[in-house]
């Protein structure tokens, strides 16, 4: 294990243990009552849903440019996280929207682009799984990740113009409501917990992929043997 893994995991675990208490103690929102509390999970996962594809795209571009395998493994780990956080965001979002806007779904630019992004990353994973030659699969995956990352702003603006050139935006999400301090504390804690989780998971997962790929090689066998000896001692 990387040496900073345990501190990050412990920190992340502690924060997730504390978070329900903090969230429970935060006051109910005036208009929405208890339901708004889903936002403590929705917003951090939506942020990670932005960050993880970025990590994936940049890592993939680095991989194609300089060909180091660790860039690709990090991209793959980030892609898995993107799907996880994308699903979380798109499940918690409608639950919140039903109460806040009175509808499960609107064809707003942000929602639509998020949905497209999730589809894209599901496609990425399906693609890499479908190519037998690992080296070719890596390159194909990197290509899709780059094309996807470049396309995100184009998708966002085209969807936005698609709606706004004909009708006014139905929902304005830019007006930030004022938050009570307790709410803000809980929100910040959740954000950092999601950060710590993603950080630990991306690097650990990338490491696991390297070991899985190279399980037949000398150095991995040597490492396994030395660990077995260490465990027996």
């Amino acid at each position: 294990m990387p040496k900073w893994f345990s501190p990050a995991a412990i920190l992340c675990g502690l924060m997730f243990i504390v978070s329900p208490v903090l969230i429970a103690r935060a006051p109910d929102e005036a208009a929405m009552g208890m339901v708004y509390k889903i936002y403590y999970y929705h917003m951090p996962s939506a942020w990670m849903f932005l960050l993880a594809p970025l990590v994936c795209g940049v890592s993939s571009a680095l991989f194609l440019a300089r060909g180091r395998p660790e860039d690709d493994r990090r991209a793959w780990a980030a892609a898995e996280l993107t799907v996880l956080f994308g699903a979380l965001t798109l499940i918690t979002g409608p639950l919140w929207a039903r109460r806040a806007w009175g509808t499960w779904w609107v064809w707003d630019a942000r929602l639509t682009s998020e949905l497209i992004l999730l589809f894209l990353y599901l496609g990425y994973i399906a693609l890499v799984e479908a190519i037998d030659d690992p080296r070719r699969a890596d390159r194909a995956g990197a290509l899709v990740a780059i094309v996807g990352a470049v396309n995100v702003p184009i998708i966002y603006f085209s969807v936005r113009w698609w709606n706004t050139l004909h009708q006014g935006a139905t929902v304005s999400m830019s007006a930030a409501p004022k938050m009570a301090t307790t709410m803000l504390t809980a929100m910040l804690l959740m954000t950092f917990a999601f950060w710590a989780y993603s950080f630990a998971v991306v690097f650990t997962r990338a490491r696991a992929i390297v070991l899985e790929r190279e399980r037949e090689t000398e150095w991995v066998r040597g490492m396994m043997d030395s660990q077995a000896v260490g465990a027996a001692a």
């Binding site: 194909a140 996807g148 470049v150």
Partner: protein
Amino acid sequence: MTRAPAAPALGSGFARSVWLVLRKDLTVEVRSGEIAYTTLFFAVSCVLIFAFALVKEGRAPEGGAAGILWIAILFASTLALGRGFERERQAETLRALLLAPVPRPAIYVGKLLGIVALLVAAEAVLLPLVAFLFTARLFAHPFWLAGIVLTCTVGLASVGTLFAAMLVRARSRDMLLPVLLYPIVVPVIIAGVQGTEALLQPTVDLEIVRFWLLLLVTFDVVFVVLALWTFEAVMSD
């Protein structure tokens, strides 16, 4: 990268290689007609299906023509893209193509132009058909329409050719192509439908048409450049 010996009549090595790949594809297509007929028939069937789904009491739906046209083109292009590289794979000519001493981007451009030519041929039949069946005034501004259709087709084909090339050796490639392609080409479809719809209005607002055309040109430039950069890495063994 070595280049094919340049023929003086045909200009530089790159242009010549592009022309050779394109000519090869077109010759095969003209002789067999395999992809062209299937694509065209599929697109026309799509339009018919939409007519059955959307026409009420014998009247065409208002404002539906642009959407129907572009869905038919998108579906047909998926079919054409998948077949284009499948033929290379089945005949084992892909390796020969890659072994040829030409720059890889030239192969991409040649393939891209071949697909675009094929789709433009299909659109030449599809556009009058949609205009006729759905009483749409598609040809009121022929040059703007040509601009939208052409940039849209290049947009679909640029990403599509790259992905089809990448998927040649993947399992279940026929299913993966639309799964990967459709999310990426959402902007093209939005711009195509909106641009065409703006042209169908009784009073055409050319500002809106120009706006969508600009988006399409941007998309085309970005993705052709990106494809030229990445094609080498994707096709290398």
